[in-house]
């Protein structure tokens, strides 16, 4: 198998951002000098200063520390949720694209149903019902994003299975399993990969939104929770921009970075997208 990946400038920028964030997530203590959990009621809503680079929140926690530690939650959600949805989606997509008949039809309808149901409301309902923990959120997001992967993998599989090298494999006496794993999968994998990267942006976006809407894990530090607390504690009225801007910017940068890498990969795998 052979992948030729050529990232454009935008993709390289995106990749750099993510690598830096991965570093933050792995070694947050190397960067910050405040414990993000440490509260100090005598120092609430302080503006940026030498002591607190980005000021403090309504219970006196250091916002810069919260921001750096928050990277961990976001990346974790991104990677694990996408891992779940990509695996489930690829399997469903491959099977429903390769086989014809009732199973394929049922899988396809099921995918369509999941595509049709609005995601955010369903996520909110599910998290509200199963309980607010980071793992529940990850699983819910993972299980709601698979339909998108399945749709893409299915349509790609459908077009590949019409190629004569697939029928040729049958003429050689290959089993269905061999054809799916060794002949179709390698051809859809680049697309799945590019799409997975794009999905990471979406997964992070959903986690942040769910947390902001009050269904986040209160025991975990995350950008969405920070914004939730900011909104609930009327930071707006205090015009505590240092509390509100940084997590938002962090989210935008992260989602953007994943999008840039994903688009760059898509372009490098899909010659039709390349500049004319």
């Amino acid at each position: 198998m052979k992948f030729r990946i050529r990232l454009n400038i935008k993709g390289i920028i995106g990749l750099t951002i993510i690598l830096v964030e991965v570093f933050f997530a792995c070694f947050p203590s190397l960067i910050v000098f405040h414990n993000p959990h440490e509260m100090n009621y005598s120092a609430i809503f302080l503006g940026p200063s030498r002591e607190h680079l980005l000021g403090t929140d309504e219970v006196g926690r250091d916002i810069f520390s919260l921001l750096i530690f928050g990277t961990r939650a976001s990346l974790m959600v991104g990677f694990i949720a996408v891992g779940i949805s990509t695996t489930v989606g690829s399997i469903v997509g491959l099977l429903s694209g390769y086989y014809k008949g009732i199973i394929s039809e049922v899988l396809m309808r099921f995918t369509d149903l999941f595509l049709a149901i609005p995601r955010l409301p369903l996520m909110l309902v599910l998290v509200a019902l199963v309980g607010q923990s980071i793992w529940n959120i990850i699983i819910v997001i993972g299980l709601l994003l698979w339909s998108q992967v399945a749709r893409i993998v299915r349509s790609q599989t459908l077009s590949i299975r019409e190629k004569s090298f697939i029928e040729r494999g049958k003429a050689f006496g290959y089993s269905d399993f061999r054809i799916i794993i060794f002949h179709i999968l390698p051809n859809v994998l680049p697309l799945v990969f590019a799409n997975a990267i794009l999905l990471m942006g979406s997964a992070i976006y959903y986690e942040v939104t769910v947390s902001f809407l009050g269904l986040g894990d209160p025991t975990h530090i995350s950008w969405g929770m920070s914004l939730h607390y900011a909104f609930e504690s009327s930071a707006i009225l205090y015009r505590a921009y240092w509390y509100i801007i940084p997590p938002g910017v962090a989210i935008v940068i992260t989602v953007l970075a994943f999008t840039l890498i994903g688009n760059a990969l898509d372009e490098s795998f899909n010659p039709k997208l390349r500049e004319r």
Binding site: M1, S164, F172, H183
Partner: protein, 332 residues
């Protein structure tokens, strides 16, 4: 010796009718892609199936090697009824019956290099235990298809090869299992004219060397004429004329064959020959006309052609034709 024989082979595809119709009517509509075809191919013969696109020639060929499930009929390969044996039993015949595809760009997996493409069937059929064992066999087969030096092609991916080279790889991977019956589905129609003859030349050489039997499918009668021993002309799922190539081309009996031969473009100008250009739409296997299938486009159609379907009859030795006019001519 007969290599492969088919009798009354039919391949009907169910047509997807609308959802509602399928609720209230149980009657299925079928597309009669192949509608009762019988012939024999002798050992080491080149048998050619010719006809317009949509006439069912590819479907027929694929049904013969069980890539498509026929609706009815029999296929006998070296005396064995291929359609009645089970899947596992058929596996041992699988490697004997191979196919070469038309499009060299989609018949090779873009993610596999030449070596793996050829080694994979060997491994699946237990000719070799692991990929490295196949090196000698693969070198030899690549040399046979004139891809030399063979080693330099091992690591190449399809996109690094030209159309002709891809088709050679494709042929090599079919031949590596030592088949003796090959379906060649328009193997050169997508190649450039100069490469085309090169590949054909090689295929004929391989045929002699490996004692192969070819079923050659083409829409190009001049190619068929050039290489085949016998030819069958297909129209809408049926054979309308069949016989030794020389005779069919020089003395066509069915009006359809006459028309097809008359429109073959000749590379020499000067001698202007009369062309019979058929009017009307290309055939549609979903709406097969009553009577003779060809009558709506036939320039010699008589009343009887609209009513009864002609059966295929012997015109003279080895030359068969399905046309009412022929039997009428003979009666008086």
């Amino acid at each position: 010796m007969v290599k492969i024989e088919i009798k009354n082979l039919k391949v009907w595809f169910p047509v997807r009718t609308s959802f509602l119709k399928s609720l209230y009517s149980k009657k299925h509509q079928y597309s009669h892609a192949v509608d009762g075809v019988s012939f024999k191919i002798k050992e080491e013969e080149i048998f050619c199936l010719a006809g317009e696109s949509g006439c069912g020639k590819t479907t027929l060929a694929k049904a013969m090697i069980r890539l498509i499930k026929p609706t009815s009929g029999t296929v006998r390969y070296s005396g064995v009824d291929l359609l009645s044996i089970g899947k596992n039993e058929f596996r041992s015949y699988r490697r004997k019956l191979q196919i070469i595809y038309q499009d060299p760009y989609s018949s090779l997996n873009p993610k596999k290099n030449v070596f793996n493409t050829i080694a994979e069937p060997l491994k699946v059929h237990n000719f070799i235990k692991n990929f490295s064992e196949g090196k000698d066999i693969i070198t030899q087969i690549l040399e046979e298809v004139e891809l030399t030096p063979a080693e330099s092609f091992f690591g190449k991916y399809p996109h690094e090869l030209s159309g002709g080279q891809r088709q050679r790889v494709s042929i090599a991977s079919s031949l590596v299992l030592n088949p003796d019956f090959i379906v060649a589905d328009e193997p050169v129609s997508m190649l450039d004219s100069s490469v085309r003859t090169e590949v054909l030349y090689m295929m004929l050489r391989l045929k002699k060397k490996r004692k192969l039997t070819y079923l050659f499918i083409t829409h190009d009668l001049s190619l068929a004429w050039l290489i085949s021993d016998r030819i069958a002309i297909m129209y809408l799922g049926k054979i309308v004329e069949m016989g030794p190539t020389d005779e069919v081309v020089s003395n066509p009996q069915h009006p359809y064959t006459k028309a097809l031969i008359s429109v073959i473009p000749r590379p020499t100008s000067g001698v202007k020959h009369k062309k019979i250009i058929l009017k009307g739409n290309p055939p549609d296997s979903m709406n097969i006309p009553a009577g003779c299938r060809f009558h709506p486009r036939c320039f010699e159609a008589k009343d009887i052609c609209k009513r009864a379907e002609p059966s295929i009859v012997k015109f003279n030795k080895n030359h068969y034709v399905a046309c009412h006019l022929l039997s009428q001519k003979r009666k008086p």
